[in-house]
């Protein structure tokens, strides 16, 4: 069931153009599926009338907290990133469909670009019910950024799977885009999950198609309501215009026109 909950920021970590907020819920958290998102009200910003959809980076049920990794993009997200510990944040959650769980013996590649790395961590942590790291079952993160500054919280990802990195300027990992990484030539993968800028996801989808690999991508079309009512965030798919907020944000690439 979807809820509107007042959270309080209990921890905050700032990065060059982003912030990690740990938010404690005033009531027990609803079940959140990896790849789902939340819709955050922005208080005190004239330029943000609507809520901001943000993917869930991590969940801690015993402590009743969620982590949101937010990139400063425009005024609304800048306002959210400037909030301090103790601030109240009104959030609608959980929203959208989330990623499909892999099978027991799948060799999984989770590809994230820029802030698109955010939902991959929580999703990978849910592969095992006890949320233990599960490197042995084949969880691989391929994370890309323009520079090393875009690649935050890598230790969190390393605790869950193998981490491979690309940067456009070569300041960390292999130089180039995620689709240029050498692992594509060496690794046997049978499921890809991707989240990031549209050109990156299209390039990943193309690679997956060429190799016949099952692939899901998480879209972030601009939304107003977040719950499938306004029909603003539609993606034109093989089934017609579908709401990214309700039918997505996660789509198998076979449903998309790109």
């Amino acid at each position: 069931m979807k809820q509107i909950i007042d959270f309080v920021i209990v921890e905050k970590q700032s990065f060059s153009r982003a912030a990690l907020l740990k938010l404690k819920s005033s009531t027990p958290l609803p079940d959140i599926w990896g790849g789902q998102f939340v819709n955050v009200r922005v208080d005190g910003c004239d330029k943000a009338y609507l809520r901001r959809p943000i993917s869930v980076h991590d969940v801690d049920y015993p402590n009743n907290t969620i982590d949101l990794l937010i990139q400063e993009k425009h005024e609304g997200t800048k306002t959210l990133c400037a909030l301090s510990v103790g601030a109240r944040v009104n959030i609608v959650l959980p929203l959208g469909n989330g990623f499909t769980m892999p099978e027991e013996n799948d060799n999984v590649l989770l590809v994230g670009g820029g802030i698109g790395i955010a939902p991959l961590l929580y999703f990978a942590k849910t592969f095992r019910k006890d949320a233990r790291p599960c490197v042995s079952t084949g969880v691989h993160f391929l994370l890309g950024g323009r520079t090393r500054d875009d690649l935050m919280l890598l230790d969190r990802f390393r605790a869950v799977g193998d981490v491979f990195v690309t940067t456009n300027d070569g300041s960390m990992g292999e130089k180039g885009f995620v689709t240029d990484h050498s692992l594509w030539n060496t690794m046997e993968i049978n499921k890809i999950y991707a989240c990031g800028p549209m050109p990156m996801m299209k390039a990943v989808a193309k690679k997956a198609r060429e190799r016949g690999i099952w692939c899901e991508v998480s879209l972030e079309n601009q939304m107003a309501c977040g719950i499938g009512a306004c029909l603003c965030c539609v993606e034109n798919t093989k089934e017609g215009n579908l709401c990214v907020c309700k039918e997505g944000p996660v789509f198998n690439i076979e449903r998309l026109l790109w």
Partner: protein, 303 residues
């Protein structure tokens, strides 16, 4: 106990609060947040005779205290509504009202006649004011002759309560309302969205796929309030006010301006539970002001 029941011709609302078409889905989307039985009515998505894919993405631009949209009446058509949606929502404990739109008179008439046959749909809202479709929509709603033509034609086949939703994109909205009344409307609702646009200065491109779109949200409230007042003075049929209502106080202002009932639109996006809060807040206002019947507020502005 404050009496909240509102009687429109052949349509009884348990309170004056309804939700605006296109902002509340089919009600189901909001059932986690609002007890639908606490609302006077819900006006479901704009429905056309045939399936419509709507306009291309991007369909939305955020503006100061509001938003523009150019969704373009995306819906699966009357047959799909009747066969798939209606059975799921017909037993909601509130008035389920369908917003009906068309691109020509025949389509309006056929769609309205189909709705007339649905026992649990007590009213339709005739949308002659959508700014985002090339044919029909607003084209009918911006001239007296256009509105007369479509309202008369639908009146012949529709026998329950017919709300006519008016466009604010006209020179004199009272004249348009009078034309709707003369043609047989049981009530008018206003305002639909105000035509606007947004440009991205960096790319020098329009933000919306259709260049222009409809403005809604808190920013349109003063315009809507003024138009409701002008129309309520002109017509004898009830007026349903909407446009930027985001709180019980806003709703009361519309009642005082002459609206018999109100609709909540874009505010549903910011607080999905707002409609229920507004219904309760109107009662609180009445108790605080010693008002025993909400109807006493209608047109109660002190000049």
């Amino acid at each position: 106990m404050v009496k909240t029941e509102i009687k429109l011709k052949g349509l009884t609302l348990k309170n004056p609060v309804m939700t605006a078409s296109g902002t509340f889905g089919y009600g189901e989307e909001y059932a986690d947040f609002v007890d639908l039985s606490e609302l006077g009515g819900i006006i479901v998505k704009g429905t056309t005779l045939h399936h419509r894919e709507g306009n291309p993405y991007p369909r939305m631009a955020e503006t100061p205290m509001g938003m523009l949209n150019c969704v373009g009446l995306q819906n699966k058509g009357v047959d799909y509504f009747i066969n798939t949606i209606y059975p799921r929502i017909r037993h909601f404990e509130t008035n389920v009202i369908v917003n009906v739109s068309g691109s020509n008179i025949d389509d309006y008439v056929t769609a309205a006649a189909r709705m007339d046959a649905l026992d649990d749909i007590p009213a339709i809202e005739l949308n002659v004011s959508c700014p985002n479709v090339k044919q029909g929509g607003m084209a009918f709603g911006v001239t007296c002759s256009g509105i007369e033509q479509v309202v008369k034609a639908v009146r012949d086949v529709y026998h329950k309560h017919m709300i006519v939703k008016l466009s604010p994109n006209v020179t004199n909205i009272a004249e348009i309302a009078l034309a709707a009344e003369a043609a047989g409307a049981d009530s008018v609702s206003l305002i639909n969205t105000l035509l606007g646009m947004a440009i991205d200065a960096e790319t020098r491109k329009p933000v919306l796929s259709m260049v222009t779109g409809g403005l809604s949200g808190a920013c349109v409230k003063p315009v809507a309030l003024r138009m409701v007042w002008q129309v309520a003075k002109a017509v004898k049929i009830p007026v349903i006010g909407l446009g930027g209502i985001s709180s019980a106080t806003d709703a009361v202002e519309f009642l005082l301006a002459g609206a018999s009932a109100i609709q909540i639109g874009t505010a549903n996006f910011i607080d999905p539970s707002i409609s229920g809060k507004v219904a309760k807040g109107i009662v609180d206002y009445c108790e605080r002001q010693g008002v025993k019947d909400v109807n006493e507020l209608v047109g109660g502005m002190i000049l």
